[in-house]
């Protein structure tokens, strides 16, 4: 019997689904019901004329578990396509965060300086607060949030990872 690889790895999986009622609940229920973990999940309609939505799931597991996850997803009736972007060539992964920092004086100026270094944009400003918009890898977002903590971080909202394969091919 071939000895299966035992180490769990992080995988980004793209799922194309019919945008019908309950489809997200099916996907999430499958993960919780079968004990798979979800590190991040994003979903939005990407092709309104065909009622298609795209779900990006970041999960982790051994190759056997990841293969199961793909097969189980593929078995759901409203699912069109399942692709493991991590194993099927190079990919681009991005996440967007909105980060609210409140304060006055030097910390406020400092937060703006750091935001500039990270190429974050200010999308809302009051006399005592900023909302920054930051796009990038999850690690970059984490680093920015850490730096904002002593400077008056009050709120963080993140999208979770979206991903797409590099090169000319569609999903």
């Amino acid at each position: 019997m071939p000895q299966p690889e035992k180490r769990a790895r992080r995988h980004t999986i793209a799922v194309l689904v019919d945008n019908e009622a309950g489809v997200l609940a099916r996907v999430i229920g499958l993960f919780s019901g079968r004990g798979y973990n979800i590190e991040s999940l994003t979903v939005a309609e990407t092709d309104p004329s065909n009622y298609r939505s795209r779900i990006t799931i970041v999960t982790s597991g051994t190759p056997m578990v990841i293969e199961q996850i793909k097969a189980q997803l593929g078995r759901l009736v409203p699912v069109h396509k399942v692709r493991d972007l991590t194993t099927e060539g190079a990919l681009v992964e991005r996440e967007l965060a909105l980060i609210k920092v409140a304060g006055k004086g030097e910390p406020r100026v400092e937060s703006l300086r750091i935001a500039d270094i990270f190429r974050a944009r200010v999308v809302d400003s009051t006399n005592d607060s900023f909302v920054f918009e930051l796009t990038g890898s999850s690690e970059k977002l984490n680093a920015f949030v850490e730096l904002m903590k002593p400077l008056g971080l009050v709120d963080v909202s993140r999208t979770g990872i979206v991903a797409i394969s590099r090169g000319a091919d569609a999903l």
Binding site: M1, P2, P4, D18, A21, G22, A25, R26, G29, G33, M64, E67, Q68, A71, Q72, G74, R75, V77, P78, V79, H80
Partner: protein, 581 residues
């Protein structure tokens, strides 16, 4: 047409002739539409769980989709056990549930339940219809999804206002599913590799499951043909019984936890295993890391998620079992292949040695009826007529699987995956409706039968002459057996206290009751049972202490079987094993 009328029309267009159901407030318009026609027959059950099991019996014995109609709220929640059972055993069911009117959904209305939410994990797919114009399409899609690929239950939740609203009907030929197109044809390169492996094998085995039954009678014929061509021994799973003839010399019995010694040892020692429409369930494999360690494994399954789930295989083939077997036969003939005759001869010699252990042996004494004996007599006295067997769940189920021999598919209905006590009698009702002239016997235990005993009333109402063959050992026998073997003989709550008098119970339902307590009475009882026109409850008082052997204790390997009572003390079950179900 109204939504309710479209439901009836769509069912008829799908070829449905019988619906199992129970009325209620939220399905009254559909019942009104049933009242106004006489093509679709409605069978009134006594509990919605019974409706689903009856539809399962109907479906498994015919290969058609079984249809259920229940009301909202408790009607739907009562159906959940049956739906889960159908999902686990891949039985095609379409279940229509009533729902409160669309404007009331989410308001905790009377008899409201989130039916699509509750049934999402226990159905292959489900729908909530929100527009009358969708009714016909959804029904046709539901039938397609239910019977295609790996079959399973589909729920259609139908709000009451949609049942009454007018909509446009479309026929089944106009409905094509946008996404769901399961793969039927297996990959030809993989099939070539598989055939090569079989031809080169020294100790091959076919391990065939419920997929052979689900694929249809042609798959079973091809399995027999391939077995003849190759000379390979065949074992069946519980769900696969009848997929290969039970009295065939190439058949080495059922495998798994209560399978035969020869089947399990052959699985353990084989060098090439061909899994045909089975899923390496834990009841089959025993301890996974010791499962058939030396074999190359070929796995044919229509469901890609069954492959490499529990056991890594060398040659996965996604496709319909019947189609793949046909391709294998064609390649075998095309290349004029033949098996390694000498190796196979040695392999069969080994298997015959194992067979020589006579692992199903039991000792019938003069005083008490052994349950195995009762089933052997039932088999002897019914095998020459068309007989369908259903079971409940427990020891009697395993004995039925071991001692009743099935020669063709679709004649054996049992709850394998979910293990649902109470399955057998409603299933028998469904089978009898589909096969009015055949003999249908529910081999039952006294505990299981009480879980859906109310359906006896259904059998009587429709004059369905089902025979309920209770092996009454006054215990939840399998629970008692595990408590004896794994929990120091502490029989916690497994004694069937305060049992009803089954003969009087049958009479109270206007059925016939019979009882046998001594071995010499068994034949007479069976004869009387078979000669009675209507439903019969036969209460056979059997040895309460008999255990079901052979047995692979949980957490053990195939070559660590307990062969009989004398063998028990040699086996210590580990704590890890005890933690398994």
């Amino acid at each position: 047409m109204t939504g309710a009328e479209m439901i009836i029309r769509a069912l008829l267009d799908q070829g449905v002739d019988v619906v199992f159901g129970y009325p209620g407030g939220a399905v009254l318009p559909i019942y009104d539409a049933i009242f106004g026609q006489n093509k679709l027959r409605h069978i009134l059950v006594r509990h919605e769980q019974g409706a689903v099991h009856a539809a399962e019996g109907y479906a498994r014995s015919t290969g058609k989709v079984g249809v259920v109609l229940v009301t909202s709220g408790p009607g739907a929640t009562n159906a959940v056990t049956g739906l889960t059972d159908a999902l686990m055993d891949s039985v095609p069911i379409v279940c229509i549930t009533g729902q409160v009117a669309t404007h009331l959904i989410g308001n905790d209305a009377f008899q409201e339940a989130d039916t699509t939410g509750i049934t999402r994990p226990c159905t292959k797919h489900n729908y909530l219809i929100k527009r009358a114009d969708d009714v016909a399409r959804v029904v046709h899609e539901a039938f397609y999804v239910s019977r295609s690929g790996r079959p399973g239950p589909v729920v259609i939740d139908m709000p009451k206002d949609i049942q009454m609203a007018k909509g446009k009907y479309v026929g089944p030929e106009k409905v094509v599913h946008r996404t769901y197109q399961p793969r039927v044809k297996g990959d030809s390169a993989a099939i070539e590799r598989a055939v090569k492996l079989i031809a080169d094998a020294k100790k091959p085995i076919f391990y065939a499951g419920g997929g052979v039954i689900n694929s249809g009678p042609a798959a079973s014929k091809r399995l027999i043909e391939l077995a003849r061509l190759t000379g390979v021994p065949v074992t069946n799973t519980l769900m696969g019984l009848g997929g290969f003839p039970g009295s065939d010399p190439q058949f080495i019995g059922m495998l798994g936890m209560h399978g035969t010694y020869e089947a399990n040892l052959a699985m353990h020692d084989c060098d090439v295993m061909v899994c045909v429409g089975a899923r390496f369930d834990d009841r089959i494999t025993g301890r996974l890391d010791a499962f058939s360690p030396k074999s190359k494994k070929i796995h044919i399954d229509i469901d890609p998620s069954s492959i490499n789930k529990n056991v890594s295989v060398d040659v996965p083939i996604v496709g319909d079992v019947g189609s793949v077997l046909e391709d294998m036969i064609a390649i075998w003939k095309r290349d004029g292949l033949s098996a390694d005759k000498n190796a196979l001869k040695a392999w069969w010699k080994k298997i015959d040695e194992w067979r020589g252990r006579d692992c199903l042996r039991y000792e019938q004494t003069d005083s008490t009826i052994k349950p195995q004996y009762a089933i052997e007599r039932l088999y002897a006295m019914t095998k020459d007529r068309e007989t369908f067997i259903t079971t409940e769940v427990g020891q009697h189920q395993m004995w039925a699987a071991q001692f009743y021999k099935f020669e063709s598919p679709n004649h054996w209905m049992t709850s394998g995956g979910l293990g649902t006590m109470g399955y057998g009698m409603p299933a028998a009702i469904g089978v009898q409706l589909a096969h009015p002239d055949a003999l249908v016997v529910d081999i039952a235990g006294e505990a299981s039968i009480l879980m859906c005993i109310q359906e006896l009333s259904t059998a009587v109402q429709y004059s369905l002459p089902i025979k309920i063959f209770i092996l009454n050992n006054e215990y939840m026998g399998m629970v008692r057996q595990w408590q004896e073997l794994l929990h120091g003989g502490r029989y916690s709550e497994s004694y069937s206290a305060a049992l009803p008098d089954f003969v009087k119970l049958a009479e109270a339902f206007h059925a016939k009751g019979l009882r046998a307590s001594r071995p010499e009475d068994v034949d007479g009882l069976i004869e009387e049972m078979l000669n009675t026109d209507g439903p019969v409850v036969a209460d056979i008082m059997v040895d309460p202490t008999e255990n079901c052997f052979p047995m692979i204790p949980s957490g053990s390997a195939h070559n660590e079987m307990i062969l009989g009572a004398a063998d028990v003390n040699r086996r210590e079950v580990s704590d890890a094993g005890k933690a398994l179900v």
